[in-house]
Each structure stands twice: as C-alpha cells, then as structure tokens.
Amino acid sequence: MERTRIVFSGSGGQGVITAAIILAEAAVIKEGMEAVQSQSYGAAARGGATRSDIILSNEPINYPGVLQPDILVCLTQSVYTQYAGIIRPGGLLLTDPHFVKPAKEADAYQVSVPIYDMVMEKIGKPIVFNISMLGTLFGIRPLFNPNSLMEVIAERVPKGFVELNEKAFTLGLELGEEYRQDF
C-alpha cells in the first residue's frame, strides 16, 4: 500500500483523537503496517480546535507531520475553514452537515455525510459519534479490513459498551458505503 496521510480535525469532546488512535493502532497491531499518530496539544480549555495527523504505510515513516492529507475529516466549521485548503488534490474530504456547511469548490472528493444525525436517530448517544465517523470513513474508503478496526475498538472500551460501539461502527460503515467511489 502506498503511503496514506490522514488528518482528523474537530473540537475537543468530539473524540477525533481517540478515533485517530484507534485507526492507527489497528493498522499497526492488526494489519502489521507502520503507522504514526500525532496531535496538536492545546491548553486545557473548552472548544479548542483539535487536530490529529495519521500516516499509514508499509515502509518506515520518518517525518510524522501531514502537510497535504489524502484524507481530511473536518467536524467543525472553523477547522473546515482552516484546513480545507490543505487537502491533497484528488483527496477525500469528509464532513458532517450537522457541523459543517461545505464550500462548493474543492479539488477533492468532498462528501458530506449526516453521521451525527444518524447516530442520534438510530442510537441516541452522541458519545459514539467518533466511532460512527470511523465506520463511515471505512465505508467510503476501506483502508484495510474494517474488522481490524472493530477489534481494536472492542479491546479499548469497557465490556458493557462493546455492542453499542459495534452498532455505531456498523451504522457508519453502511452509511459510508453509499458514498463509496472508485479511484
């Protein structure tokens, strides 16, 4: 697999960093790939923008920063404004209409998926929103076997919550598949 550079961005509390860690950990532990994940630390405060960079590869990864992501997820309007411009031409830009009103133009495959609303409708617990987001991403573009992701999720959440997360992940996967495109 070619090197894949991913940026998840949003606001504190949306779980984007956890999602990023799960994605990269699954790549490493379950798929035997190389992966790095980093994030910008802010001061403890509400509403600060959060960004996490992930690189997946089969080769060793040195510089861990992502300048031009192949995949960019923006979950607030402000990070969308801030980061939409850095997407690699032809990349995938995933947003959620609940948070972001995407601009018309972008040299990328822009998808706006109503993940949040679906989560609230079908599950009712905003806490699993980030897991559904991961599912959606894999629905659109399966970077590797989605089961690997689900395994990591299962290892990370308390026993009683595995099922809930599974539901959220599957919900996302199905939702994402509707937007799948071949490249």
């Binding site: 860690i21 990269a24 950990e25 490493v28 532990i29 190389e34 992966a35 790095v36 994940q37 980093s38 994030q39 630390y41 802010g42 001061a43 990864i61 040195n62 510089y63 861990p64 920063g65 300048l67």
Partner: protein, 382 residues
C-alpha cells in the same frame, strides 16, 4: 516466538525500556511533556513489586532516586525543562557520589515555562553543564520508538557500568508521537546488572576504589558493608577529605571515566552515509525529518547522508571528524539556536563548512525546512 507489538507514545516506549532494563523504582513530579512516563509507571511498577512515588517536587524526586539506588535498585526519574533545572544540584551529587541513576528529560520549549506543550531541543548544553563544578555526564537521545526503548535500556546499562547518572534527552515530538514498538524478548538485548562487591563481611570494602577495568563494585545499603556516601570530595571509603591530592584525583577520575570511554559510550546511526557529499547531522525528532529528506533526495540521486547521533555526551568528537571532514558541507539539524552545531564546528577541520538548519518556534522542523537550508548553502536560494 512472536514479539509483542504495541502502538504507543514515545514516552511509553521509554517506560517499556526501563522495565526491560530492570528499573524497579521511580520517583517523579508531573510536568508536561514527560508526565506519561510517571503515569504509566504508577500503574506498571507495583505490578512487579516495584515502587512508584510522586514526590513534593523535582528536587525531592531526584533525591529519592539517589537514596533508592543506594539500596541496590535501578532507578529512574522523568521531567522536562523547569524540573530539569531544579534537579541540577542533585544530579551533581549523583555524579560526585557515583550513584547510578537515569534521568529522562522530555524537552519542551524554553527558557523558563516557555512553550510547555511544544517541541524543542534546547537543553542539550544544560544536560552537560547544568550543575556546578567540573564533572562529566552521559546523555543519550533517540528519534523513534524502537530506539527510545533501546537507548533507555542503554542508559541503565551505562549508569551501572560507569556508576553515574545518565540523561535521556528526548523531546516532546517523539515523546508524544504514537507509533509501533516491538518489545524485544527477554535476553534479546543486553542488560547490565549492578556490579556488587564479592567481598565478604569483615573484609575492608572500598566503595570508591576503581577495579583494574575502571568499574567500582557497589554494596547495597543494608548489606554487610557499611560505608559513607557524600557529595564532598572523599577518599576511597567515601569519607570527606580536603587533601588536594585526593581532590585532584577524584575530579580527574569523575571526568576521565567518561571522557576516556567516548568510544564505548558513543551511539549513532548512519543513513546513506557511504558516499555522502552533504552530511546532515541530527538527533531526536529532528533526525526524523533529516532522514525523510535524505531518503527522498537519494531517489533523485543526490548524495545526501544523515549522521544520527544517539549519544550527545560525551561528545563524539572523533566520530564527527571522521564522518564529516570529507563532506562538502555539514548541516546540523536541530531545534534550538545551534547548541550542537557549535560542538560540531569545534570538532571538524573546516568549521566554516558547518551550517545550522533549525527551527525555534515550537513546531517540529520539517524536511522542507531542512531542504531550504540545504539549497541556501548550495547557493541555490530557497
């Protein structure tokens, strides 16, 4: 046997390395970006009968590991800038009293409180000269998780071998980065155990008399040999003396045991160095970008190599000369105002061919930053 693979922060790689090396005592005080080391050890150490203690400040933490080491334990503390400054007096004590211990400094932006949550490599010279008086020190660093693990094990090994504090100079970028770590199997890496005297009770034991090979066997507090440990200049039993001869000899011993063993202590990696015309000298997270750039440029046929230092102190002068003297230019890539650069310059024959590619704003230096500097010194503009 398949190895255990983990996906962890660099700080956790340090924790894994410490446990592998046999660390059983940690005393610390939280500070960003080193805190995870303390937090993880608070959970892990007692699982194996080891001890974690959060002290009232960094001075106490450093003091506590000194006390614990003397009972025979392998000990660690971890901190960052302001805490590293506070520990300096006690680090000097450990040098003087020859107490093996490891001090991890996960560097952040300084001076002062500075830029606590962002990367810098500004404590290079402080690691060498932070405490008062002549002395010497060992400081290691690493750019990736596997090496953090390895260098942490090496730090414990060197601390035991030379009976001295060893500094681990990590930085925020590698410390917080999450990546793959393969835990070596037991026995795969060499672990140096504490050298204990074999003298039985009643035989005069000299805690500060080096053996022929230069090592000084220790005796645990609580064991049969009762001796004295002090930060004053002392004789071979550890008792204070103001005799000029003893003072001179001890000071030279403290410096020589390290400076005369540069070769043994030096750790480095070469990347594409075979026929390199331009040499990037780097370390820690900066080295990741240097290697990144070299990898990319090699694909285009440019003869660019990276000399990655994994030990900073004692400064590997000979190595630098050997690897750099034939280069057209040397570019030192670091995140400070040129602390290592000055030492590289002092080491090579043509100091005016040594350049600095740096970044001092809290952002990780990127391959592009280095490329720009390289173009400049090649006369190609940015």
């Amino acid at each position: 046997m398949t190895k255990k693979i983990k996906f962890v922060q660099g700080n956790e790689a340090c924790v894994e390395g410490a446990l592998y090396a046999g660390c059983s005592f940690f005393a610390g005080y939280p500070i960003t970006p080193s805190t995870e080391i303390a937090e993880l050890l608070a959970a892990r150490l007692p699982q194996h009968g080891g001890t974690f203690i959060q002290m009232e400040d960094e001075i106490a933490a450093m003091s506590a590991i000194i006390g614990a080491s003397l009972t025979g334990k392998k000990v660690l503390t971890a901190t960052s800038g302001p805490g590293f400054s506070l520990k300096q007096e006690a680090i000097g004590y450990a040098c003087m009293a020859e107490v093996p211990c490891v001090v991890a400094n996960v560097q952040r932006g300084g001076p002062s409180t500075g830029n606590p949550t962002h990367v810098a490599q500004g404590d290079i010279n402080q690691a060498r000269w932070g405490t008062h008086g002549d002395h010497s020190i060992i400081a290691l660093t690493a750019s990736n998780h596997q090496d953090i693990f390895q260098m942490t094990v090496d730090a414990f090994n060197l601390a035991e071998t030379y009976r001295t504090p060893v500094i681990l100079l990590f930085d925020e970028a590698v410390g917080h980065l999450r990546a793959k770590l393969e835990i070596p199997t037991e026995g795969e890496l060499h672990v140096v155990d504490r050298l204990r005297t074999s003298l039985p009770e009643g035989v005069n034991y000299h805690p500060y008399l080096p053996r022929e090979d230069g090592r000084l066997p220790m005796s645990d507090f609580g064991d049969v040999h009762r001796y004295n440990v002090t930060g004053l200049f002392h004789d071979m039993w550890g008792f204070p003396t103001a005799d000029p001869t003893y003072i001179n000899d001890l000071l030279h011993h403290l410096v020589d045991k390290i400076e005369n063993n540069v070769k043994d202590i030096t750790r480095y990696k070469e990347h594409f160095m075979d026929d390199a015309q331009y040499v990037l000298v780097s370390y820690g997270s900066s080295a990741r970008s240097a290697i990144h750039l070299a990898t990319e440029r090699r694909l285009r046929g440019e003869r660019l190599g990276v000399l990655e230092l994994q030990s900073i102190w004692p400064f590997p002068k000979e190595l630098i000369r050997e690897k750099c003297d034939s280069a057209r230019a040397v570019l030192v890539c670091e995140m400070n105002m040129g602390q290592l650069t000055a030492h590289v310059r002092a080491a090579v024959r043509k100091p005016n061919r040594v350049f600095l590619a740096n970044r001092t704003d809290g952002k990780l230096i990127s391959p592009l930053d280095i490329k720009r500097s390289l173009r400049m010194i090649q006369g190609r503009g940015v």
